[in-house]
């Protein structure tokens, strides 16, 4: 891998991928927390007509003008969404969908128009659809780096304002914060992240870079600061991994590889993150079920003992199995390990019997008399 990074083209691509990972990782956090993931999708697709316009105006494949164009049409799309939701009965998701398809269609038409002109300078403008990392120049890194640095500075300066406007816009407004301007700034940041990723992953897959690192980071962290840092790390890791695999394989497309890498991180995070992951939820569910089973068996033993008026009344395993309609041997073993029941002989029968220990009796009484109590101390998650 070090040998690969010694190659200057590959180094450029890897650096670009890292910049992309940092910027979209950090800026995507606010979009995801504000439940505006789809906005990233719309802004990314809406960048395509801007790319074409930038190319037409500059007359060449100059990254600066292409990025400016992408920003401009991204802003226009965001504005269109705002106007559609404010002035019509359309909900935000519908407005986002309409803006996405409209701007993307415009972009494709412009793209085919440019290609139809047979201009030799059009040099693979369609690479902005899925990205083409190999076409990246060293000078492009400076532009990407500058945009990333500017966006990060914005986040650092207005950290607490962005946080409050994302969490509780109503309260923020009551303090006198210009919530509308802050929301516009956060939308603009998503557009900036899109612009940084244009060359690397292209407009179609860019949304993944905005949503995925933040979603994965959310699984592992408990504070916004940690989430933003981890999201940037995940983004960078995926970016560099994609770039290196692409370089090692000579020919596999970089952008999609980066997206696959970040998707793998998301998958792992959704599955395994402590407390929030699916594996944890499944484990908790399984434990609860096992507990419930044990408690039911304990309650049955208690009831039968009560019926016989003998607190140490031995109950045959078969009786318990029949009563519960399922084998109870494992539940009994668990209870035995907890010291709540013990196996006994009940002469002259030769089959296994079980009775409550004094602790088991007390525990069963608690179970059957305790019906709730103070719900306030209970955790909700």
């Amino acid at each position: 891998m070090l040998a690969l990074l010694a190659d200057s083209t590959i180094r450029t691509v890897a650096l670009g991928a890292a910049l992309l990972g940092i910027s979209s990782g950090v800026l995507g956090c606010f979009a995801v927390l504000r439940r505006q993931s789809l906005l990233g999708d719309t802004l990314a697709h809406a960048a395509l007509p801007g790319v074409c316009l930038g190319f037409l105006i500059a007359g060449s494949r100059d990254l600066g003008s292409i990025m400016l164009g992408a920003l401009a049409t991204g802003a226009a799309a965001a504005l269109a969404v705002l106007l559609l939701t404010r002035t019509s009965r359309l909900k935000t998701d519908a407005a986002l969908g309409i803006a996405l398809s409209l701007f993307f269609a415009l972009g494709v038409v412009l793209l085919t128009f440019i290609q139809g002109r047979g201009n030799s300078a059009q040099g693979g403008l369609d690479s902005f659809l899925f990205g083409q990392a190999a076409a990246m120049l060293r000078s492009d890194l400076w532009i990407m780096g500058a945009i990333t640095a500017a966006a990060l500075a914005l986040v650092a300066i207005f950290w607490k304002e962005f946080k409050l406007a994302s969490f509780d816009p109503g309260f923020a407004a009551s303090l006198g914060l210009p919530v509308l301007a802050l929301e516009a700034a956060m939308t603009a940041m998503v557009a900036l992240a899109v612009v940084v990723g244009l060359q690397m992953v292209g407009v179609v897959l860019m949304t993944a870079m905005i949503i995925a690192p933040a979603t994965a980071a959310r699984q592992w962290t408990r504070s916004l600061g940690a989430m933003v840092v981890l999201s940037a790390l995940f983004g960078t890791l995926a970016g560099v991994t994609g770039a290196v695999i692409s370089a090692a394989s000579r020919g596999l497309s970089t952008g999609p590889l980066i997206v696959l890498a970040i998707s793998a991180i998301v998958f792992l995070s959704l599955l395994a993150a402590p407390g929030r992951g699916l594996a944890w939820a499944a484990l908790r569910h399984w434990r609860n079920r096992r507990n419930l089973e044990s408690q039911q068996v304990l309650a049955t033993l208690y009831r039968m003992a009560a019926e016989h008026g003998d607190r140490r009344h031995p109950v045959e395993l078969g009786t318990l199995d029949t009563f519960h309609g399922t084998p109870t041997r494992r539940a009994l073993s668990r209870l035995e390990r907890q010291g709540l029941v013990r196996p006994v002989r009940h002469e002259p029968e030769r089959t296994p019997h079980w009775e409550l220990t004094p602790q088991g009796l007390a525990q069963a009484r608690r179970l059957l008399t305790d019906t709730g109590g103070d719900r306030d101390g209970e955790e909700m998650s």
């Binding site: 300066i157 607490k160 509780d168 309260f171 009551s174 914060l177 916004l224």
Partner: protein, 282 residues
């Protein structure tokens, strides 16, 4: 009044500069001719509401009566179609630092990655102003507020792991650090258990004893008389307002709730008093 760090909009609704002249300064809240509409349908119609300082006022009314909208338009979160609002004699933009706000608990996403202490600290952002970060002093203040609502042990707990009642107390603590003179609370007792409700009422009574004014959107008519001393009955129009002992009448409640309410004459109160039970919707 020193200017708030977040540059206050010292302009009135129509853009005209407001002369720095007090208007009804003897009132904690003065609302005149306020009309708010969504899609040209009135949500609040031409209401006049005056609340004197030092009272704890319940804002009651059926669903859709505009109770939350009333608070939001006073705080400038909703733009009124007509009318004006004064807080201790001045527009809200000039008085932000004297006002505390507890939004409805359901208005935010409690899965946001943050702790109880951090949320309480957000109440100080207005005073901090731009660029300045909360430091140790702010953290101490936030911790003290958490103690006041009995939540000190949960300071570093994720807010998603708090129960509804605990979340509500965190919101209350955030308003406490604002150290305001006038508090607006939107349904602070909604969906909390009896213990929490009692705790919240105690805190509110303590604030009133310190001379603060409280305006509380409240959904439970049965507790109005035991908790509050002032009352505003709202149903798009302002139906009645004043001391609870005078306003809490069968006549007034029937005007606001219409058929939704069953009134039971309360013997100890004679003819003028009544307890009420909301039937559907509440």
């Amino acid at each position: 009044m020193t200017a708030a760090p977040f540059v206050p909009a010292v302009a009135d609704r129509k853009g005209a500069a407001v002369p720095d002249r007090l208007h009804e300064p003897q009132l904690a809240l003065h609302v005149e001719d306020l009309t708010v509409s969504y899609d040209s349908k009135p949500v609040l119609w031409d209401i006049d509401i005056d609340i004197p300082p030092g009272v704890m006022a319940a804002v009651v009314g059926p669903n859709g009566a505009g109770k939350s909208t009333f608070i939001k338009s006073v705080l400038g979160l909703v733009r009124p179609t007509a009318g004006h609002v004064r807080i201790f004699g001045r527009p809200y933009g000039m008085q932000r630092r004297r006002v505390g706000y507890v939004p409805q608990r359901s208005s935010v996403d409690w899965d946001f990655p943050t702790t109880a202490l951090d949320v309480v600290g957000m109440g100080l952002y207005g005073r901090l102003g731009w660029l300045r970060r909360p430091g140790r002093r702010e953290r101490d203040e936030a911790r003290h507020a958490l103690e006041q609502v009995g939540m000190q042990d949960f300071a570093h707990r994720q807010i998603s792991q708090l129960s509804g009642g605990q979340q509500q107390r965190v919101f209350l603590a955030r308003a406490l650090v604002q150290q305001a003179d006038l508090y607006f609370l939107d349904e602070p007792m909604a969906g909390v258990d009896a213990t929490t409700e009692r705790a919240i009422v105690d805190i509110l009574h303590r604030l009133r004893a310190q001379g603060k004014t409280l305006v509380v959107v409240h959904h439970d008519l049965q507790t109005v008389r035991s908790y509050f001393d002032w009352m505003v009955i709202l149903n798009i129009r302002a139906i009645a307002q004043g001391p609870v002992s005078q306003v809490y009448t069968a006549e007034n409640l029937r005007k606001a709730y219409g058929g939704q309410i069953a009134l039971i004459e309360h013997e100890s109160f004679g003819g003028s008093g009544a307890t009420a039970q909301t039937l559907g919707g509440g």
